[in-house]
């Protein structure tokens, strides 16, 4: 390095490099400048200066200098390496890899560059390149532990586990017998466990076991050792030995479901789908009975039998499970039991049980058949459980009555208010739900969970501004105002995005969805540091499982939701390009003049308020950063130039943007119907016939009975049939493909689309969503049958679903399905009267729903709203108007109660 320089300057060059490594950038810059004074064209110095400037946030200068340096000295590996580092710092890994390769061409054995290259290859999953680089590193420095391990991991990642084992064994061969020294015992043990997991992966179970016996003394992580050993024994069908170890593990933690299931497996008492023969149930009961005697404090051994028991035995077990928890007061009891509602019949048994308990507590103060008086709180907890039960069964009125009774009994239990909020949300009254959640929050202002719950409900009710203010109560961190984004608070961003989308603010919606997408990009980035760290620390099992997790990262639910949200925004942008003022005027002109005026004023006010708020915020930030002495040192946060996402809305080609996210979904969530519905919608809009057809095929493959799959199928072929005969060659080609594929679709087999549609209807005649889909398609195929289609929807019956016994005698229709049907009638069929009829009908099914304006939707659900407002506004109540307490009659025998104040004047 710096070889072409005279000694004095060569020394200065060393200083630059050293200063860069020690982050003393100013010093390095000085040294660079003094070299450049004499040798203004010295390539490596120019490059190093650029790299230094890059770290001082002077990006554009950095790139210019580094490029100039390279131009002046193309033969220098330093210049190429620096160029690569620059790209790496900007996460342009592909470019960086190219630069490193050029550097290595000049200096093939440069360990530093090889190591940097290997990290990038791991990050980019260039696995064959990774193996190659790792091999070179090992050849160059075989006495380095990390190089052996790196080579083995590289083989493992490129699906060559047996080779990885060989490398690890070769490495072991280089070790002395008394290895490891005391301070490396953990690392060595991890390496051994990693090797054993590799053996297991390759199916070499006997060898793995042998290895474990041989190395037992050298493995530090005893718990993993035992779990691994038991797992291998189980795989080898050596059940007795495996069971013995699992039992010893249970002794350490009898609440670990994995151990309990493993013991069941050892005894041949495990089935994936939870179905057991009567004989097996008998044996399982005996197993858990004995476990219960051994581990009376374990809740898992008490809870698991509820899953496999049936009928009277289930009722008995549920009874004895629930009682002590009601006495103790466990707010999470219902969510613990709620998976049982999936089992047919169990919900009914639970209902009978709960009601029996409630009745007994209410009348005698004891559980049925017991003489022991329950504490007073038991009635309240029982009422809560009963309420949640009815909520689960969509019987919201009963649920609300029960929860109100519980609140009346003990008005200080916060959970009651939260649950009531949830019930109201399910029943379709979002603003009441938010009010309840806010009441719960107000009862313990130090509880972050209650705060978050409340924020979520507010967003659900489209109170975004209020939600943000509430959320910020818990995010203020010194000077930092709002770090929700920095904390990757994705549930919040998703819910705000959805809310903005509902309100038609596509800019802000997109901003939130894209923010979530960015978090996932960051997470992918975040693995970079671990490529070197984990190899050094030898946490290999965790490292490899982290890499595998990263490979599936975008399949995560939050990412799916964000991508779906973004795609919906872009499609809407495409369908109604930039909510132009003309369109808005159109909408407004429909309104009477007075209302129009009001609306305009409202908009203006809202705009002014938003502007004011933004200004205030900025001012706040300025003052707060001024007030902190270290203000300058702190990285000044980049100002958000597009807080309302206006630029995001102005994309050239929304469908192209949407396609980017669709591709991510197709890669990671190809088993989700939604992915292919988006693919269908996008490609239909883009006129990509074959891709749309692909989507239809995927939908049929996943679930041909789904109403949306059916819609896509019909819409696709209806569209194809209406196209003019193919003209160009490529069109003919597409045509031929479709003709060839068509017979493969079972649904279509020699039938007309009308027939296909009526077959579908016949098959799913009883289901509202299917009927709606069939009606919509009927109208599409034969517009003159509009009335018939509407009748099809209106003739649907909301039968009680007692037949399947899962949820007992409750109405079948879900509130969201009914809302969708209403929208269908309102927009697609454009029949106001019919839609209104539907609305009135649904208002009866869902009296709490604000959407359908049901009878109970306007009720105030806050126990005492005047109380709320008076305290919050700090109104001092007029003392004259107050009655004094102490009136025993009206107090229900309230004891004593002492008076108070107000009559200060009298003293």
């Amino acid at each position: 390095m710096g070889s072409s320089l005279p000694p004095k300057e060569a020394n200065l060059f060393k200083i630059i490099v050293k200063s860069y490594e020690t982050k003393q950038y100013k010093k390095g810059l000085k040294a660079a400048d003094s070299i450049l004074k004499k040798f203004p064209d010295h390539g490596e110095t120019l490059s190093m200066k650029g790299l230094t400037l890059n770290c001082m946030d002077r990006k554009s200068e950095a790139y210019e200098l580094v490029r100039r340096g390279l131009k002046n000295d193309l033969k220098s590996h330093v210049c190429w390496h620096v160029y690569g580092l620059l790209y790496r710092s900007d996460r342009e890994y592909r470019e960086a890899i190219k630069c490193y390769r050029n550097a290595l061409r000049i200096d093939p054995d440069n360990i530093e560059i090889l190591r940097d290259l290997s990290l990038l290859q791991a990050q980019m999953r260039d696995l064959s390149g990774f193996v190659e680089t790792r091999q070179q590193l090992l050849t160059l420095k075989p006495n380095h532990r990390m190089n052996w391990i790196g080579f083995a991991v590289a083989h493992h990642l490129s699906s060559n586990s047996s080779k990885a084992i060989e490398v690890l064994e070769a490495y072991e061969g280089t070790l002395e017998d008394d290895y490891p020294p005391e301070n490396e015992r953990y690392e060595h043990g991890e390496m051994l466990l990693y090797k054993i997991s590799l053996l297991e992966e390759c199916g070499m179970l006997d060898r793995a076991l042998e290895e474990m016996h041989k190395m037992e003394s050298k493995i530090v992580d005893k718990l993993s050792f035992r779990e691994q050993m038991a797992c291998i024994l189980l795989k080898l069908s050596r059940f007795d030995e495996a069971e013995k170890i699992y039992r010893s593990l249970l002794f350490m933690n009898p609440d670990n479901y994995k151990y309990l299931i493993a013991v069941q497996k050892c005894l041949g008492l495990y089935s994936e789908n939870g179905q057991y023969s009567a004989d097996d149930v008998e044996r399982l009961s005996a197993l858990y009975k004995s476990l219960k005697e051994e581990y009376s404090w374990s809740s898992a051994v008490k809870r698991i039998p509820l899953d496999f028991l049936e009928g009277a035995k289930f009722q008995e077990a549920a009874d004895s499970y629930v009682r002590p928890l009601l006495t103790k007061g466990v707010p999470s009891l219902f969510s613990d039991l709620s998976p049982l509602y999936e089992h047919p019949g169990k919900a009914n048994i639970l209902e009978q049980l709960f009601l029996k308990l409630e009745d007994s507590i209410r009348t005698s103060g004891c559980f049925p058949g017991s003489l022991q008086m329950e504490p007073p709180s038991t009635l309240m907890w029982t009422l809560l459980l009963v309420s949640q039960h009815y909520d689960r069964r969509s019987q919201y009125d009963t649920a609300l009555d029960k929860i109100d009774e519980a609140i009346l009994h003990t008005p200080t239990v916060i959970d009651l208010y939260s649950i009531k909020g949830n019930i109201l949300q399910h029943a379709g009254n979002f603003s009441a739900a938010a009010a309840l959640a806010n009441e719960a929050r107000s009862m313990d202002l130090a509880d972050r969970y209650l705060n978050s719950e409340c924020v979520m409900q507010m967003l659900q009710a489209d109170q975004v501004g209020l939600a943000e203010k509430t959320a910020v109560l818990f995010t203020k961190d010194g000077d930092q105002h709002n770090n929700l984004h920095d904390m990757q608070c994705m549930w919040y961003e998703l819910a705000s995005g959805e809310s903005y989308f509902r309100q038609g603010d596509l800019g802000r919606a997109l901003k939130n969805f894209l923010a979530v997408e960015k978090h996932y990009t960051d997470m992918t980035e975040d693995q970079f540091d671990f490529h070197s760290y984990c190899l050094r620390k030898m946490t290999l099992r965790a490292y490899v499982s982290m890499l595998k997790f990263q490979d599936r990262l975008h399949a995560h639910e939050y990412f799916q939701k964000a991508a779906a949200g973004a795609i919906r925004c872009y499609m809407k942008l495409h369908d109604s390009p930039s909510k132009s003022s003309t369109e808005e005027n159109d909408e407004m002109s429909k309104l009477p003049a007075a209302q129009r005026k009001k609306l305009r004023q409202k908009q203006k006010k809202a705009e002014a308020r938003a502007k004011r708020e933004a200004e205030e915020k900025q001012e706040d930030e300025i003052t707060s950063s001024n007030s902190s002495k270290s203000g300058k040192k702190q990285q000044s946060r980049p100002v958000d130039l597009d807080p309302r996402g206006e630029k995001l809305v102005q994309v050239e080609d929304p469908l192209a943007e949407a396609t980017k996210y669709l591709k991510l979904l197709q890669n990671s969530s190809s088993d989700s119907l939604e992915t292919h519905i988006f693919s269908f919608e996008l490609n239909m809009r883009k006129q990509k016939v074959l891709l749309a057809f692909q989507a239809v095929k995927q939908l049929i493959r996943l679930d041909g009975n789904n109403p949306d799959s059916h819609r896509c199928l019909i819409r696709f072929f209806h569209k194809i049939n209406s196209l003019p005969a193919p003209g160009t060659d490529s069109e003919k080609l597409i045509w031929n493909v479709l003709e060839a594929e068509r017979p493969d679709l079972r649904q279509l087999h020699g039938k007309s689309l009308v027939e296909v549609n009526s077959n579908f209807l016949e098959k799913h005649n009883a289901s509202l969503t299917h009927r709606a889909a069939a009606a919509e398609m009927m109208y599409l195929l034969e517009p003159d049958k509009k009335l018939q289609a509407i009748k099809l929807i209106e003739d649907s019956t909301n039968s009680t679903a007692s037949g399947n016994g899962v949820l007992g005698p409750i109405k079948e229709w879900g509130i969201q399905d009914c809302i969708n049907v209403h929208k269908l009638l309102d927009t697609v069929f454009a029949e106001q009267d019919v839609a209104n009829r539907w609305k009135i009908r649904c208002a009866e099914y869902f009296p709490c729903s604000t959407y359908f304006e049901g009878a109970r939707s306007a009720t105030s659900y806050i126990a005492d709203s005047s109380f709320e407002s008076s305290t919050e506004n700090g109104n001092v109540l007029n003392p004259e108007a107050k009655i004094k307490e102490g009136d025993a009659g009206s107090l229900n025998g309230t004891v004593h109660i002492v008076d108070d104040l107000s009559n200060l004047s009298m003293r």
């Binding site: 007061g329 022991q372 009862m443 107090l891 004593h896 109660i897 002492v898 008076d899």
Partner: protein, 178 residues
């Protein structure tokens, strides 16, 4: 609770054999003051103003929430007052326990807490107002050594009888508990 129900017998008598529920006291803060508001709404036909809550919080350890197996079921709210001559006395603004949780000794626990604190801080006088016909309450407080020291006529505006007693307990260094 309920005066004359054998409060002094301790805090566990009602919850039947074996089931021993935990009772505890917690301080009143602005973060949990809503609990007291909920209690008062349920217990008293009066809506207390902000000053009441400020006074209660300002009295620090004198105002307490009572918990029964982690549920807030009762409270004592006090105000510290300066008498002429500089001595401090305690005025009990409210004391109450939710109906289902009476008879468990929580009222006693709250009251005893205030007595103990008075001893520690050398406060010798505790007083409160009670409507003249509220016999239960008067009996309850008498059991704890309160005495009627004054009758104020026309104290209440909207209820009959409009008169109240002032009940006072003077704390000597020895007699901390009843």
């Amino acid at each position: 609770m309920g005066a004359g129900e054998g409060e002094a017998a301790g805090s566990k008598e009602k919850s039947g054999g074996g089931v021993v529920a935990r009772t505890s006291l917690d301080g009143l803060r602005d973060k949990n003051v809503m609990q007291l508001k909920k209690l008062n709404t349920a217990l008293f036909p009066v809506r207390y103003n902000d000053k009441y809550y400020q006074d209660a919080i300002a009295s620090k350890d004198f105002s307490k929430l009572a918990y029964y197996s982690d549920i807030c079921v009762g409270a004592i709210a006090c105000r510290l007052e300066k008498k002429e001559g500089g001595a401090v006395c305690v005025y009990i603004m409210t004391l109450g326990v939710l109906a289902p949780y009476r008879g468990l000794g929580l009222g006693t626990k709250l009251l005893n807490h205030v007595f103990d604190l008075c001893v520690k801080q050398n406060i010798s006088e505790i007083y409160l107002h009670v409507q003249t016909n509220n016999d239960d309450a008067i009996a309850f407080y008498k059991k704890f050594g309160f005495e009627i020291t004054e009758t104020i006529y026309q104290y209440y505006k909207n209820i009959t009888p409009p008169d109240c007693y002032v009940l006072t307990k003077f704390i000597g260094q020895s007699a901390t508990k009843k």
